[in-house]
């Protein structure tokens, strides 16, 4: 077994109580009076503000207490290759994507396949705020307060069949507004094992920072899988398909020796492009060590008992 549990959080990493409380208060205000948060949208086209979220936001026991990455960075430093491969291209190009109407099909090995209108999907379960670390395979990281509910709530509603073992996410692809160059095999697809998808940390996400998701962050609906590299957290989802076989995933098809199906954050698995032993938290200058499973080992290490994570990278 190669799973090494991380040390406890260093005292220096814990946000002082007062600062934390103040931040909570700010988020509560922003989250409850969502309209107030609209002030944050200055500089973005009006189309970026499509939709609203239900006001009730539960807080979650999984929240990280670390300082949130500032909003400006979170919306301007994105990987969304359909809208361009530079980090700032999605901010410029993604707002062309129409977010309504938007339908999400849930199909495959389920007893109750269904096509959801995005506004119905939004109301399927109570939204929670989840402050998660996000670790990109490119060795940078952020801390983002997402809004969503566990993907498990949706999956339970459609009743997976006994033979279902994997969940595939197919994302939106519109060549009229997205790149036509075959940088990856479009549409972008991702996948999880069913037990990973049902894990309470796996979040079906509609918003962040008390706001609806900006286009470039995966609007109107994405998944967030915080213990895996960021590219596993598929954006702008249109189909969720349950299957018996492991689905093909976009980056795995592009470079299988670099991006495995699991792609769990793992500082011990070497990567030919980036050292995965450390990362730069956006907003900080010095690298910090990368934690096993991005610091979620207590919650998820059990999913991989008996697996060689050097092979199943």
């Amino acid at each position: 077994m190669l799973i090494r549990l991380p040390d406890d959080i260093a005292p220096s990493e814990i946000t002082p109580q007062a600062l934390f409380e103040g931040r909570r208060a700010f988020i509560r205000q922003a989250g409850l009076g969502l309209a107030a948060g609209a002030a944050l949208w200055h500089g973005l086209p009006t189309s970026a503000r499509a939709g609203t979220l239900p006001a009730a936001v539960r807080s979650s026991p999984y929240n990280s207490t670390e300082a949130h990455t500032d909003w400006a960075s979170a919306i301007s430093y994105n990987n969304f290759y359909e809208f361009g491969t530079s980090k700032d291209a999605p901010l410029r190009n993604a707002p062309q994507m129409a977010l309504r109407p938007w339908r999400v099909r849930v199909e495959g090995l389920v007893n109750k396949p269904r096509e959801f209108d995005i506004d119905d999907l939004l109301k399927l379960a109570a939204l929670e705020e989840r402050v998660y670390r996000l670790r990109c395979v490119e060795a940078w990281s952020m801390v983002i307060p997402w809004l969503g509910y566990p993907l498990a709530s949706l999956l339970k509603a459609v009743e997976p069949q006994g033979s279902a073992r994997y969940v595939e996410f197919v994302t939106h692809y519109d060549p009229a507004i997205m790149t036509r160059r075959p940088v990856l095999d479009w549409p972008y697809t991702e996948g999880l094992r069913l037990d990973e998808a049902l894990h309470p940390l796996t979040l079906l996400t509609f918003g962040m920072y008390g706001e609806v998701l900006p286009h470039q962050n995966g609007a109107p609906v994405r998944v967030v899988v915080p213990w895996k590299y960021g590219f596993k957290s598929a954006k702008s989802i249109v189909t969720i398909r349950l299957s018996e076989r492991q689905p093909a995933t976009a980056w795995n098809k592009s470079a299988p020796q670099e991006y495995g199906f699991y792609s769990n954050v793992n500082p011990q698995v070497r990567h030919p492009r980036w050292s995965q032993a450390s990362e730069r938290r956006i907003g900080e200058t010095r690298r910090r060590p990368t934690l096993m499973f991005n610091g979620y080992a207590d919650e998820v290490a059990g999913l991989y008992l008996g697996m060689d994570l050097q092979k199943n990278y």
Binding site: L184, A255, P272, R273, S275, A277, R286
Partner: protein, 226 residues
């Protein structure tokens, strides 16, 4: 001023102007760093900018010889040393950004990067090959080495350029458009040299071909490059 033959003073002015022009992107980058306008990941932005400017200046340096030959402006050669040294300065900036700004001179991490990551291996090799070229750039060094040996040594710049483009190519995750553009420019710059060399070889072969019998009186000396 005559474009064909500038006076020494004019040449000095041209050099000063070119140097200033080459400093503009460096100033722009420094200002962006100080004003915090390099985006969410300024260290990465500096890394990418210094790397791209190294490649651009390197290709510009390699363009001097073909430009001189095509335009007939032989004084262009007098700009080459400066362009080469500016390339080296950008390369130093690029190396320092990686080793110092990014890795905080953590020698273990630096060594691991060089050994584990092929794109850094070739990038580092390119820098190592560039070092003797920068050190022997002075007129004194040319004299000390002798023209022929100096030239042989400085031909390694072609290797540096190829390694530099490979470095960029291997770094990119999926979108190879930009490294492809650099590779095409480099291929053109090296290709035109190979073409001219081949033309020259053929010309000399033709010149050395035995003349029609009965008309040639002199002695044939074959001068054919290997």
């Amino acid at each position: 001023m005559s474009l064909r033959a500038p006076t020494p003073l004019q040449l000095l002015a041209i050099k000063a102007l070119l140097l200033l022009l080459c400093l503009v992107p460096a100033g722009h980058l420094a200002a962006g760093w100080m004003h915090g306008t390099l985006g969410a990941n300024p260290i990465e932005a500096v890394q990418h900018a210094t790397g791209e400017w190294t490649l651009r200046m390197l290709l510009l340096t390699l363009a001097v010889t073909p430009l001189r030959r095509l335009s007939g402006l032989h004084w262009l050669l007098r700009l080459r040393r400066m362009l080469g040294l500016i390339t080296f300065a950008w390369a130093c900036g690029h190396l320092l950004t990686w080793a110092w700004l990014d890795l905080w001179l953590d020698w273990t991490a630096i060594a691991a990067d060089i050994l584990d990551r092929p794109y850094i291996t070739v990038g580092f090799a390119a820098f190592a090959l560039m070092l003797p070229l920068a050190l022997t750039s002075s007129t004194a060094a040319v004299r000390w080495l002798g023209g022929r040996r100096w030239q042989a040594l400085h031909r390694s710049v072609y290797g540096v350029a190829i390694l530099g483009v490979v470095h960029y190519w291997w770094l990119v995750k999926a979108d190879l458009l930009k490294p492809l553009l650099y590779a095409l420019v480099l291929a053109a710059l090296l290709g035109v040299r190979a073409w001219w060399r081949e033309q020259e070889r053929r010309r000399q072969l033709a010149a050395a071909a035995p003349p029609a019998p009965g008309r040639f009186k002199g002695k044939v000396i074959r001068i054919v490059p290997k």
